[in-house]
Symmetry: C2
């Protein structure tokens, strides 16, 4: 029998390891491959032959892996350029050397592009003994073709729970207060929108809808007048009509040319305080915690 | 039989409602008081006779209350001054009018001071038919006489879990990176120190120990040199030897003269980037989420 390889790429999620655990378990129950290799640090590690044997994983290890957030095999942000033929040659050499018939690549849109590029290269060079399978992963829920992407549900649950819990917290005082919850979501508002499952959101700001400062401040003022509180949820990718991010002052770029965001919540706080519609604004940036929250809370049990 | 009153004060916790649920339940099992009143918004609401009858709470409501974070009866930040005799008169009038023999006050050091002030006033005025019982509450674990204060355990569990989870996240990439986790803790380092239960912390910065910038940067550099990563936990109340908060630029004051903190993590990020010991720093400010995290995750079940 031939072997297979599974690797992870892009940002971690709470359940990206469950996909790896599932592939290992499926091959134990119904052996299709001799060895299930794990590739460390995605395509970057595979080119350096950083492979580990996952085939003999015990049931206990499998259960632990499934419940552990973040990418156990490590990740990378390496961009496989279609014009860089050396990279393709290296990858196919590694696959051939280790008799790897199928490569499973767990990741988001960029990783799926890597899978497509490898498939195209194989087709163009009449290579028929390797195939490439993309396994969907993203907290943003913006992966093409998928409806609910693994990674979104757990992040959405964490966000909606945190929205309800912080809303309960902000409402214990009678004082005037605006609470701003910032979620991830560069181009997709699914994560921010998931906060609405809590049923307590007054204002929702998504990247898909151009931000209107005047309308926003009017809505905040209306809520403050009515109940002395306003609960706002904003996506990190929220932007003005001209395309500028609310958090533009802090935006930088990662290796893919994506803007590194963060700070939309603080930008809203400054707008509210400067306009005078409210005098107290608290910001909660969920940051990394929302994508690596353990689906099972038993990691450490101190109480 | 006489009645009793329970009220909540100060910042919420994940378990402050469990104390109220316990008082109600105990009186149902072993009736000492005719009616258990809940006072809304602490001492401030009590002076306005904002009382509700909790005596008839069902078992189901009791279980829900026990698992719900934040202060269900509402809270206040009203400072009961010993010189303001009008306030004392008002409170004792309300207690007398509703035949309240015992007042339970759930809160932190400021609330315990309120309890002491009411007891002293009663003693000085030979009032013997009312007594005042303080019920400990604080996430900071800095409440005098208590060893482990209700509120600390749940916050510590959330912090140590989040530390482990974000550490797993930051380690999926091979790139150089410093991660800074900011916790609450104005004067007490218990919350920040709880992150050590995760076993992954490289640098811990507590308010009790004067912050040494040079030493800090040297330690960060050592970790970066050794493993390309450094995981830092900082208490919001961390300060320099001269007493200035790391987050001094953003510090304001609340009604008690306490500094409103936040921003110690961003202050460390700026120091690291300016010094050049690392080029990438991510900050996670746990903010409100750490004190209102539901001890049971069943609040909403979307997956």
């Amino acid at each position: 029998m031939a072997n297979c390889l599974v690797a992870q790429s892009g940002g971690p999620t709470s359940v990206i390891n469950a996909t790896v655990a599932g592939i290992v378990k499926a091959n134990q129950l119904n052996p299709v491959y001799d060895t299930v290799f794990g590739g460390l640090h995605g395509i970057e590690g595979i080119m350096q032959e950083m492979l580990v044997d996952l085939s003999t994983m015990s049931d206990e290890e499998n259960i632990i892996l499934k419940q552990t957030p973040a990418s156990a095999l490590g990740s990378c942000r390496y961009k496989l350029k279609r014009t860089n033929l050396e990279d393709f040659k290296t990858i196919f050499e590694v696959l051939k050397k280790h008799n790897i018939e199928t490569m499973f690549y767990v990741g988001g849109n960029d990783s799926m592009d890597t899978v497509a590029a490898l498939s195209e290269y194989a087709k163009e060079h009449n290579i028929t003994d390797h195939r490439f399978v993309g396994c969907p992963k993203t907290v943003d829920n913006d992966l093409m073709v998928t409806d609910h992407c693994p990674g979104y549900g757990s992040a959405a649950k964490f966000i909606s729970n945190t929205a309800l819990q912080t809303w309960l917290d902000v409402n214990v005082y009678t004082r005037q207060e605006v609470f701003v919850l910032e979620t991830m979501g560069r181009d997709a508002g699914w994560l921010a929108a998931s906060a609405c499952l809590s049923g307590v959101i007054d204002v929702l700001i998504l990247p898909e809808v151009a931000f209107d400062k005047e309308k926003f401040l009017t809505t905040v003022k209306k809520n403050i007048t009515e109940k002395n509180k306003c609960y706002v949820v904003v996506s990190e990718g929220a932007r003005f009509e001209n395309g500028a991010y609310l958090a533009a002052g802090e935006a930088k770029n990662d290796g893919f040319g994506h803007a590194i965001l963060g700070g939309a919540g603080y930008a809203l706080r400054d707008m509210i305080l400067e306009s005078g519609v409210a005098s107290r604004v608290k910001v909660q940036d969920l940051s990394t915690a929302q994508r690596c929250h353990a689906t099972d809370q038993s990691l450490t049990d101190v109480e």
